[in-house]
Amino acid sequence: MAILQKKICMIGDFSVGKTSLVAKFVRQTFSDKYLTTVGVKIDTKLLKLPDGNQVKFILWDIAGSDSLTTTTASYLRGAAGFLLVVDGTRLPTWNSALNLRLAVEKQIGSKPFIILLNKADLQEQWEMNEQAIEEKTKQGWKLLTTSAKNGMNVEQAFLELALLMT
């Protein structure tokens, strides 16, 4: 039987940690050095679900931006869900995420997504607004605090997205 294949997009402003999250998830590596993504980087990862089934993730790590450009919009076609990444140490990336979500939905329709508040290891620089987060949680959004550096909730994030898509 052919393995179920799912296309997942990494969306978010620049330097929020999209590439780092994928690197941690796929290769268990992390680098402090920042190398911005231009275009899109495609990776695959086989994931075992709690029910024993396997799913093959095709991960599209898209160049970061605060809005959707025509180039990036074309990458979204066929996505089954997406991870919306925010840099917890830069408040403006939260608003970028909210804008991007609307733009993505316009492009490919409503798809499952999870907001990742990344860089949780940098607590002393944390700029997230608890109230805004609570508000979104109340609306039924799924939010996770992650760190590509120490691995916190990284596996969890992909797994939960997989569950949202089945």
Partner: protein, 507 residues
């Protein structure tokens, strides 16, 4: 290229990418790989199998096989270091996937974007830091304001407290004096009474100093500059300190420059306070030798120096000596709160001058200062020539002898005199008869002079009041001015001097 339809070839040629390594995949309507050409392995596409689903072999095509028009994916990386531009071209029910290597172009773009992003993050961090700095600054200035407020409250509290302490203490002193006067005391009792007096005096001067220092801190001390007979003032000081110096076997002198005018416009009370502080210190710390005061005047500036042959002050202490509550280690055994010099320093500043110290262990200390002091051309009136018939004087004293004596004297010079024997009566009479001037004894039964003057001033009595006091203690003099007296004369009063003072004030 033989397998590619002419239209697709034309499409490729329109891209001007002739030098790029062309690779293509041909996919049928069911999504199966029919054919490929060029160098798929260049992009990492190996083990391609015909007639198998293409999305299982080329993952990124998932989702792109149902397109209706040409779709371009820019800068795609599917592993390795190569970047591909992917063109998906639907044609007659099948799909051509064209791959172009754009690695060089990508790398150029990437470098540029990298710089833009890094700069943007840097700017953001910088603005955050500035904001943090601003917040901290705001917080600090808020805290500073609160601290200043707290200090002010505390100073106000100390001022009130000192004032409250003063009242019962004056009464203790008054009654001690009465007891002393009334009684033929034996040796013991005299000794005890002296001790009470001495200690009460000390306590009072301490309280007064704290009060002054606090008022200086909160800017509550205002100067009252007026005509002052400086020569008289210095003569007073000399007679005040000479016996004290002699008791310690010290030489004491006040030297005055020839051109010192008799009258200067200064705050007499405060200038006197400064000199008293400096002279008292000099005498207190000097065990052998001399204490000398020099006074000179020139062009609206009054210079003064107090020199002693005492132990001197170390140079590091000289820097702290004018700070409130600073006390020399040599002074630990002597009484005092370390306020005198701080108060003097600030008072001199307030009087438009400066106070400084020079000292060495061999030669002793030298306090030098100046204040601004303009001279006055005081019209030299002959007191006796003025008619005093219309001038009403209220004379208040509990001693009947003194009352009759002064009354007689004043009436001789044509003043109309009304008398009262205690403060309460004085207040009543003053409000009824509205005298032009009041001569007020300070120590009286029922209601003392200080309270009487205070009440009168509170009831808007504005005419001059001269305090007649048995006390030549400095704080009594100061307190009299504070409650609203215009002059302070110590008993026994010289009648000539009294007349002069009255006519000067009435003018």
């Amino acid at each position: 290229m033989a397998n590619i339809p002419a239209s697709v070839v034309r499409y490729i040629q329109s891209m001007w990418m002739a030098e790029m390594i062309l690779t293509y995949l041909h996919v049928d309507i069911q999504g199966r790989l029919i054919d490929w050409g060029g160098y798929p392995q260049h992009y990492g596409l190996i083990d391609l199998t015909k007639d198998k689903l293409v999305v299982e072999q080329v993952n990124f095509l998932d989702g792109f096989l149902d397109i209706t028009h040409t779709e371009v994916l820019q800068y795609l990386n599917i592993g390795g270091s190569r970047y591909i531009n992917v063109h998906i071209v639907p044609l007659d029910g099948s799909i051509y996937v064209l791959l172009f290597d754009v690695t060089d172009e990508h790398n150029k773009q990437q470098k540029m974007q990298q710089q833009v992003n890094e700069l943007s993050i840097l700017t953001y961090r910088q603005s955050q830091l500035l904001q943090e700095l601003e917040t901290t600054r705001k917080k600090l200035s808020e805290e500073k304001k609160q601290l200043e407020q707290a200090i002010k409250l505390k100073s106000n509290f100390i001022a009130t407290l000192s004032h409250e302490l003063r009242t019962p203490l004056t009464s203790i002193m008054g009654y001690t004096k009465l007891l002393d006067d009334a009684k033929q005391a034996n040796d013991y009792e005299t000794k005890y009474l002296d001790s009470v007096k001495r200690n009460a005096n000390h306590l009072l001067s301490l309280i007064d100093n704290v009060l002054d220092q606090t008022k200086l801190e909160i800017g509550q001390i205002k100067l009252h500059s007026n005509n002052c007979n400086v020569k008289q003032l210095l003569a007073d000081l000399k007679s005040l300190f000479l016996p004290i110096a002699q008791e310690k076997n010290l030489l004491f002198d006040i030297k005055i420059s020839n051109n010192l005018p008799t009258q200067l416009i200064i705050d007499e009370l405060r200038f006197r306070q400064v000199l008293i502080n400096l002279i008292t210190n000099g005498i207190k710390f000097t065990d052998k030798g001399f204490v000398e005061v020099e006074i000179a005047w020139q062009n609206g500036r009054l210079d003064f120096t107090v020199t002693d042959s005492g132990p001197g002050i170390s140079s590091e202490s000289q820097q702290k000596i004018f700070t409130a509550f600073h006390r020399e280690s040599t002074a630990k055994t002597l009484p005092g709160a370390g306020l005198g010099l701080a108060i003097s320093y600030h008072l001199v500043e307030l009087m438009g001058g400066q106070l400084s110290v020079e000292s060495s262990p061999q030669f002793g200390s030298n306090f030098t200062g100046f204040i601004s002091a303009n001279s006055v051309q005081f019209p030299n009136n002959n007191v006796n020539s003025i008619s005093h018939t219309n001038i009403k004087v209220l004379l208040v004293d509990d001693s009947i002898d003194l009352r009759s004596l002064i009354e007689l004297y004043l009436e001789n010079y044509g003043y109309a005199v009304i008398t009262a024997s205690d403060g309460q009566e004085a207040v009543k009479l003053a409000l009824q008869t509205k005298p032009d001037i009041i001569l007020m004894d300070m120590q009286m039964p029922v209601l003392d002079g200080y309270n009487a003057v205070q009440q009168l001033r509170a009831k808007k009595f504005t005419k001059p009041i001269i305090a007649l006091s048995g006390s030549n203690i400095e704080h009594d003099r100061k307190y009299a001015f504070e409650v609203g007296c215009n002059e302070y004369m110590t008993k026994p009063v010289d009648p000539e001097n009294l007349l002069n003072t009255i006519s000067k004030i009435i003018q």
